[in-house]
């Protein structure tokens, strides 16, 4: 596996704001709407919901239910539901998440990162730190800035599929997915048009993984974003 690099030419996306001082440090989250419900609402393309109610959308639940203050409830709140879900990321970009049957709540750590990092690009943010340990935050932020510093953004639909937790321990996990960005375009925010030479990631699906660590506060944060040449078929 290799670390992701920062450039719009690279598919590596990763940003999110460190959650250390967000509501994520406290469980249960204030305003604690059921994340699943929130997600359903979002599927109707209410794009600002995630921004405003980031709390509900993050994977703030510990992986080990017994560690949670109220296990059944917490898992229910964090757990994604089976089947496809479409999340609006901002103007002109959507993410279709194909949840597996009986999805592991940990999968949301990776999908939240994907959606959040793209949202940062689309909204012209200058960083992504949510639920990221410092070096993953640096990775993600550099990736976001590689777009925003060059007046570039994203438009279209991305598809996340083959989501799985390939290894899980009580405080560490590897989370994997395939990303199909063939219907996504790199655009210039100055012209509003797709750039002439589209990067490789628009042509071939790729594998994206995250290594995540559960902090003493029970919050899973991404420690490293990795990608490799593992095959992802459409």
């Amino acid at each position: 596996m290799r670390r992701e690099q920062s450039s719009p030419e690279r598919h590596a996306p990763g940003r999110s704001r460190t959650a250390e001082h967000s509501c994520a440090t406290e469980r249960p989250c204030t305003g604690g709407k059921d994340a699943g419900v929130m997600r359903l609402a979002l599927s109707g393309a209410v794009s600002l919901a995630l921004l405003a109610a980031g709390c509900a959308a993050q994977a703030e639940q510990p992986y080990t239910p017994r560690e949670a203050s109220s296990p059944a409830k917490s898992v229910a709140r964090a757990a994604p539901t089976t089947g496809p879900q479409t999340v609006a990321v901002g103007d002109g970009m959507r993410v279709r998440i194909e949840w597996p049957a009986d999805p592991d709540p940990l999968l949301k750590v990776l999908t939240d990162y994907y959606v959040g990092s793209r949202r940062a690009v689309v909204t012209g943010a200058d960083r992504y730190a949510r639920n990221m340990e410092i070096d993953a935050e640096v990775q993600a932020t550099e990736w976001v800035r590689a777009f925003t510093d060059t007046d570039q953004s994203l438009r279209g639909v991305a598809r996340l599929y083959d989501l799985h937790v390939s290894a899980a321990r009580s405080k560490g996990a590897q989370i994997d997915m395939c990303v199909d960005e063939s219907r996504l375009r790199l655009i210039s925010t100055r012209t509003g048009k797709a750039v002439t030479s589209q990067p490789e990631w628009t042509r071939k699906p790729y594998h994206q993984a995250a290594l995540a660590h559960r902090g003493d506060d029970g919050v899973w944060r991404i420690r490293a974003l990795v990608s490799d040449d593992e095959r992802c078929e459409r």
Binding site: Q5, E142, K171, G172, H213, V226
Partner: protein, 309 residues
């Protein structure tokens, strides 16, 4: 100056990355088809010896991640707050950076060392195991924390890195053998009969494992009534055929291979290398390295032409 420091600082540069486009990596590339048994990430351990030029047997360390001792409190604080090495972190988010370095400020002046996690990326569980550990833990002097590396683990790492030559089978006759004809068996370019690897955590400890080749064993690929194995004289590598030599290592096939799948016998030569840990009064038991190679041996009937005078 603590002798640990230079090596560990070098290690920390890897482990506390300041990612640049195409720059430093925390997760090293996995070489596909790599014959190495172990690939260390974020580790200060140095592997020397017979880690190349052969084949690993897939031995895995019992736990694919561990903590290694690093800088003391003040050295670490200096390193983590140096704007030259920490530029990327500061540039990304100075508030996150301030929170991050607080843990090092809190330990300023205290006796002890920072321990950081390393792992084996060849193990599919290695990365998640690493993520299970803390990025930094502060440990009092002369103490090994839970999951801190031990001599036993270091020996396991050396064992996992150990390679031995893959046997290359030579036969005479080479292309095709015949019923009742002695087929001589030996190994081509067998190399030394001892292989060793030393794993060193600089300034802390090191462990050496030594593998010694035992006599080869031949499996003819068929039943006793079809093949007679002679291996009293094989030794570690067999004896190359010379004309008129006594037959002490090989196989005499008693029946043709025409009725076998693919019409050949599959002859296998195995090499066993028991492994010991050097300079240990009470040795721990490692399974020997076992490697083998297989060759197809077509065995034909000897045709005799009977002609009238």
């Amino acid at each position: 100056m603590n002798p640990l420091v230079p090596a560990l600082v070098a290690g920390l540069l890897v482990l506390a990355p300041t990612p640049k486009p195409g720059g430093n990596t925390t997760i090293e590339g996995t070489e596909r088809g790599n014959e190495r048994g172990i690939t260390l990430v974020n580790s200060g351990i140095v592997l020397k010896g017979d880690v190349k030029g052969g084949k690993s047997d897939g031995y895995r360390v019992k736990r694919p991640c561990w903590y290694e001792p690093g800088l003391d409190a003040d050295e670490m604080l200096k390193f983590q707050t140096d704007p030259r090495t920490q530029f990327a972190r500061i540039k990304a988010d100075d508030k996150s950076f301030d929170r991050f370095v607080q843990q090092f400020k809190d330990k300023k002046g205290q006796p002890g060392r920072w321990w950081t996690p390393a792992y084996d990326t060849n193990d599919p569980q290695g990365a998640a195991c690493w993520a299970d550990l803390e990025q930094f833990i502060f440990v009092p002097p002369d103490t090994t924390p839970p999951s801190g590396i031990t001599f036993e683990q270091l020996a396991e790492i050396a064992r996992a890195a150990l390679t031995v030559p893959e046997p290359v089978i030579k036969l005479n006759p080479d292309v095709k053998s015949y019923v009742n004809l002695p087929t001589f068996v030996w190994l081509d370019n067998p190399g030394d009969s001892q292989r060793s690897v030393t794993a060193t955590l600089p300034g802390v400890m090191s462990a050496t494992v030594i593998a010694t080749r035992e006599n080869i064993t031949i499996s003819p690929g068929t039943t006793e009534d079809r093949a007679k194995v002679v291996q009293d004289g094989c030794g570690q590598v067999g004896t190359p055929y010379v004309k008129g030599a006594q037959f002490t290592c090989g196989v005499q096939y008693l029946r043709a291979s025409i009725d076998q799948p693919r019409e050949v016998y599959e002859l296998t030569v195995s090499s066993t290398w028991p492994v010991q840990v050097a300079e240990r009064v009470v040795p721990f038991q490692f399974a020997p390295v076992e490697v083998s190679a297989t060759r197809d041996v077509p065995v034909g009937e000897v045709q005799s032409n009977v002609r009238n005078p």
